[in-house]
Symmetry: D2
Subunit: 263 residues, 4 copies
């Protein structure tokens, strides 16, 4: 059964002998030396250069998840680098594979929840009563015994210190609108309904602010991935200065098999 080929097209970038164009801009002359990495991430994801306000807010989101100490991802990256130091790219890739539902994936969930409730800025849904919407969201999750993405944190209680700071930056720059309002109402209702301390965590704040910036919820996790790629290279830099991966491995292997070894 013959199929008709559909034309493939990309507008990300292209090059000729003497020119390289990225999203319509001349890379050497309009990007290099003119744009910071965070602003180029905006160019790649959103198109065009960000306004100063957009840049300020977007860079804050990109920086929020770069580094969080010796996380599972950072340990994994260091162990993989021990095994294949000639493939730094593989060590970073290995660590990034862990940015899933347990840790960084929840920014995706909260952005999805908010875009489902309020639509996008381009295609908004009419919502008269945000507080009622928040109550509905919490009731629905409680009925399904599902946790609300972005709400709750095992350590940062009663407040995740990144959350108020990100909201303050968003507000100063004109990006604290209805998505931010709704996620805060959801958090308050979740605490009220459960009787537990449930802070709005950093990924909940990120999800809401990404909606304000009109980023598709399916890309929310990508913001975490970009940030953490920076952080994992940072951990490899420290591993070069102060190697710990071999000690981690040997110590854990010894302990894990202690029961089996001959005395």
């Amino acid at each position: 059964m013959p199929r008709t080929a559909r034309k493939i097209r990309s507008d990300m970038g292209w090059s000729t002998t003497d020119r390289i164009t990225v999203r319509g801009l001349d890379l050497p002359n309009q990007i290099l030396g003119h744009m910071s990495l965070g602003d180029m991430a905006w160019l790649e994801i959103k198109g065009g250069a960000p306004t100063p306000a957009e840049s300020k807010v977007f860079n804050a989101l990109l920086c929020a998840l770069v580094e969080h100490g010796l996380t599972p991802h950072a340990i994994a990256t260091r162990l993989i680098y021990l095994g294949a130091p000639e493939s730094l790219q593989g060590a970073v890739a290995a660590g990034l594979c862990g940015l899933g539902t347990t840790f960084a994936g929840t920014a995706e969930g909260s952005a999805q929840l908010l875009q489902a409730a309020l639509g996008t800025k381009a295609q908004p849904k009419a919502v008269a009563d945000l507080a009622q919407t928040a109550r509905d969201i919490v009731a629905d999750h409680r009925a399904r015994k599902a946790s609300i993405p972005g709400v709750g944190h095992p350590i940062h209680k009663p407040v995740d210190p990144r959350t108020p700071r990100l909201f303050a930056i968003a507000k100063e720059n004109g990006f604290a609108g209805r998505y931010v309002e709704l996620i805060q109402l959801v958090q308050q209702e979740a605490e009220r309904a459960s009787g537990k301390v449930l802070p709005l965590n950093v990924t909940g704040a990120m999800g809401a602010i990404l909606c304000e910036l009109e980023v598709d919820w399916r890309l929310a996790r990508g913001i975490a991935v970009i940030g953490r790629a920076v952080g994992l290279v940072g951990h490899i830099a420290e591993e070069l200065r102060n190697p710990i991966a071999r000690e981690i491995w040997e110590r854990l292997d010894d302990e894990a098999s202690e029961h089996a070894r001959p005395a």
Copy 2:
């Protein structure tokens, strides 16, 4: 045989109930809203905030390899995203795995070559005659029939347009020293000795400027990895707007097995 545990220590970051510290700075109050992503990459890799000159040069390097069109990595990321759209992190990781010796790894090679010849800024080697050093490097590579990392490009001839631009940015900001001088001498000698057009490519320029910034050559590939992580998220964003991965797959699969299918 009992072993003595060596203490494990990291200074990248740590957190308590109400604080998060990254490389000695308070994340919410000293980083978020104050640092751009590129400057935070400097903090992670080098420690401290960059000077404005360092920031300008380092961000240019980080931006140089973000996007280069429908590269093998970008195609791979889109195909993997087609298979596992719930795992954006895996799609980016897959693409990053391709940043090896064929493409982005050569920044590593040229930085290594330059640090081997001139030492680091902290521990410089005494080199009286850079031109002689360049001749020795080229002769050594020619004797081993090895290509010189950072020299030559299949498309961008006679000049890779990123190279003079990166050197100009480095010079304007006080980072065009002996490493930049040597790699240029190496390129000129390589052209002279071979009789071929061998432009200094972007990774050669990056390797030299990273030496000027006192970045370990073993981290040079990490600069490419960070940049390309940004670019691969950009390609996923375009794949969401204009999907091409399924067409790529079906078309190639059809063509590849055409000889075997029943008529």
Copy 3:
């Protein structure tokens, strides 16, 4: 807040100067030369050596997804290998990252569905009427507008040729029990309720037979991952004999940016 360390233990394997033990067996003397790779996979996942009947069925499942032509994963692996031929492991890892919900992940879904309905063999649920259970499962998915994992295939209609073959192998070896019966009833009910041709696909058959073999549904995707790792090394072997990755890249890149290039 000090925490109490919990002892870490693993029974997978350990080694001393002159011995290597894997799941209680002496690797050199009890495994090498005695076990095939598929049987060793059973040892790793289930413990102990499989019976001949278990071995026959388990190896068939492991072989089912090894190779399916120029899939998205295979193309991705070849493109990544082009970029980093020194890191074969990264090329295979890249391809594996695509074994998600679109393609191979559905074996997981059907095994989960069946274990939710019937329990495990160790802890079975009392189910009087399998046909009613099948109707309930289909009605529930239709109400949620969710597809039923393992049911339906875009190409292999009305029958996925792997499915009856796997069921025959399972039956010959005593592993065609209630899980196999239920998934077949679900498929029939799905066709009846929808009025569409919905074959039971290979992952549906795999999910059911893995339940018969008492494999946790959360490991069902791992069977696909093992098989596809074999297949991706096979594609690298062919890429070495007959390279196509560069042609794929250059052709797609040209086509994708044709609209933008100067005439």
Copy 4:
């Protein structure tokens, strides 16, 4: 500059509505239930079904690196699985990324060394005196201060117990020829020249036997990758039964930042 498309072809597999063909065999009827996973790996990499002797030797090689306890790769896989349990494929991919030059990559190196010295079986080089060749190889590595791939082991001294067993299996099945002989001579000469205990390790044995089986040295690492994919799924299976990843993470994070935390 228009380019001429080169035809893309693959002979790995293809499918139609009712048939699936893998390397010329009918998958449902000639492979499933007839071939074990290890034999299918031979089919994928070499083409055709292995003889019983080839099967015995090849499966032993595939099994040799499946499991080695709580290795860096196994720890990494468990940590990544903790972060993204919905993406088992990403956890396995992460672990595989570590199969580089430190650990499993040396099978590649020894196979390369042997094929460089003796050619392939299809295109052998005339070598009159294997002992002289061994002396040359050792002298060359010593002059370059390079370690000889496959020679030496940190723990398994004076003998890696897998090595004599693999050679015995190879010999019993008619695959102990000149490659096996040469690697043994190299090991003896390396010990003699260095005055140190340098056992031939498992990857040295694997590299030599893969040459006997006429496998391209560039695929030697793939044998390790296939085996370890099996082992990493085994570790995820144990992690489900007895989770240790969270304890590993929390314990290491606490210790690493102890110096920085407020008392």
